[in-house]
Symmetry: C2
Subunit: 400 residues, 2 copies
Amino acid sequence: MIESIITSLMDVDFYKFTMGQLIYKHYKGTKVKFVLTDRNNQRLALSINERFLREQLDHIRTLRFTMSEIHYLRGTNEYSERMFNEDYLQFLTNLKLPEFSLKTADNGGFDLEFYGNWEEVTYWETLAMSVINELYFMNELKNYSTLEHDVVFANGIKNLSKKVEDLTYRHNIVEFGTRRRFSKAWQERVLQYLIDERNVNLKGTSNTYLAMKHNILPMGTFAHELDQGIAGVHYNDLHKAHNELLEKWWEMYGWGLSIALPDTYTTDFFLENFSTEQAEKWKGFRHDSGDPIMFGYKILDFYKQCGIDPLSKLIIFSDGLNINTIHKIYDTFNDKINLSFGWGTNLTNDLGLNPLNIVVKVKESNGNEVMKISDEPKKNSKVSKETIKHYESSLGIRIQ
Amino acid sequence: MIESIITSLMDVDFYKFTMGQLIYKHYKGTKVKFVLTDRNNQRLALSINERFLREQLDHIRTLRFTMSEIHYLRGTNEYSERMFNEDYLQFLTNLKLPEFSLKTADNGGFDLEFYGNWEEVTYWETLAMSVINELYFMNELKNYSTLEHDVVFANGIKNLSKKVEDLTYRHNIVEFGTRRRFSKAWQERVLQYLIDERNVNLKGTSNTYLAMKHNILPMGTFAHELDQGIAGVHYNDLHKAHNELLEKWWEMYGWGLSIALPDTYTTDFFLENFSTEQAEKWKGFRHDSGDPIMFGYKILDFYKQCGIDPLSKLIIFSDGLNINTIHKIYDTFNDKINLSFGWGTNLTNDLGLNPLNIVVKVKESNGNEVMKISDEPKKNSKVSKETIKHYESSLGIRIQ
């Protein structure tokens, strides 16, 4: 067996815990299925030995949260007082990741599914993606000479240095690159550089393990997963599902984590259903699909209509950022609303090799096929016609 | 004190030993003075703390050849049978480097001199240069952030990779970069890359320690030092000095190390005084100054006049090579004579910072001021008018 890639269950995005506690409290026992999707159809099984992947995933199932890790989570106080309660922490202490189903598909990809209780299955998402990425790039480099290998990292260093030179302290940066990282070691190296650079205003990282290790803030709120999982629970009333998420989230975390992700059923739908009272209370929005400039103006208009000063609000941009889009967004909205940049793939996987475009998404919840309908049709889930029809009629929207 | 840079007396150019044995046998006790010259007048004392330099040089004086190092030298058989005899090896075993004289000069440089018995002083040359280079570049990088620091090495890796891509196995490469290396660690890293690259035909290294450690051939013959030291001994008959070197060298090493360095008193002078018999016996020449293409044609003409097939002979080019000059020389002479490339500064100090241009040369031998008159007037020693006059009259040449 090659070396274990994942060595701590904390090596996941922080939103797994913020969502995880809500799932544990309100939706325990809901059966969900997470599925790996390779948006580029790259026939990953030609690059990644199925046995190696299985060994890495099996190894993750042997991991447990350690006492110190639970201490760290219990001590997390930055968003609200003792945000993780003892029930949930006790649950994490006993957590063993559920089984997975892996086979090589006829198209050369992997059929990789995680089925089980939502509160347990959820942690697989970023772990599986991190492992697949690392095995993939390990294979890409396997016939490289030492010099060729080091040239890859030299490119990574130079590309990062160029980014750092192009940033100022006014850009609020959050490292969001766990799921698409070139490797665990490279993500950590990038993070160390950013911590060390004086003109980089690093607000935190999405990676809980690295946040803990490097004394920076773990950051994240919720993902489409939460919408989709709840949609399965209230499948016959998707409006209810949509509202319940926002209500229960506010109830659990209040202002501290009140960053809404509006593009599960398109941002237009979201804003129509977001009350002025909610808009006043919630801190802001995260952008994850569609044109970021159009999105920004849409949000500004929305706040204007609500009579809210956008300078009291925040947008976190997190959709395929690079230094150019960061500058464009910053220059457009800097004087209009508060900005943060959740920088992922292009930050932790920019070494000259093409990054993968994989996701691990909820496909089924409570026996129902679930989907997202984002601001970018390419990011929509592939689902049956019946499901699309159901979503259209239940939500009263048209799906492109 | 900062970490010791030199940790082995073997970390010198191999020619120190090949010359060293000849000096030990024939010129023991000759008083010589080696002097540091910074050809660029860079005011090194502003970059290098005099105390640090002194500590490093003091540390070198605490080093001794180890038993295994002496075993390695005794076992060196590649050029002639047991080329180092027991007298000399016994001398090395007991060697402690002699004192040095260091002070900061009014011009901001260092007055660094090594005076004493030639057979002992000689080893200081490349050691002093290696130490000064490493301290200088350490200082250049001292205010760099981790990322800026790593960008320097990323540039080094990429520059080296570019060179490697531009080489083929037909180019005979010898690593000659000890004296101008960015650092000891970087030289070793470059060497490891070159060893590992399949399309690089690495014949060996001038660095005895690295040759020993990495199982490659230590390479080198003699330097201007040998001419200059002997010139001081036979100061009133420089022709005799010149001839004695060649005779004693052949007597000691024969064909194996018979690479002549012809530019101590200009190549024209050398060739006029090199007999056809010598030309037939000696393996070839090393080029170290002046236009390499003109030099090559001059050597070809010389062999033609002697009735010798140049394809039985060798030129080692070693003067400020880069990938372009290597290609130019190779393309010009490849089908005419055997070629090797002794690649120094541009190989082991190409990381985006300007290399130093320092030398440590014999300035005085046996109480006489000595000089070299190379094919490139800029490389001539700075000496008194009287010395120039003496050399001109004694050798029957005009000095530019």
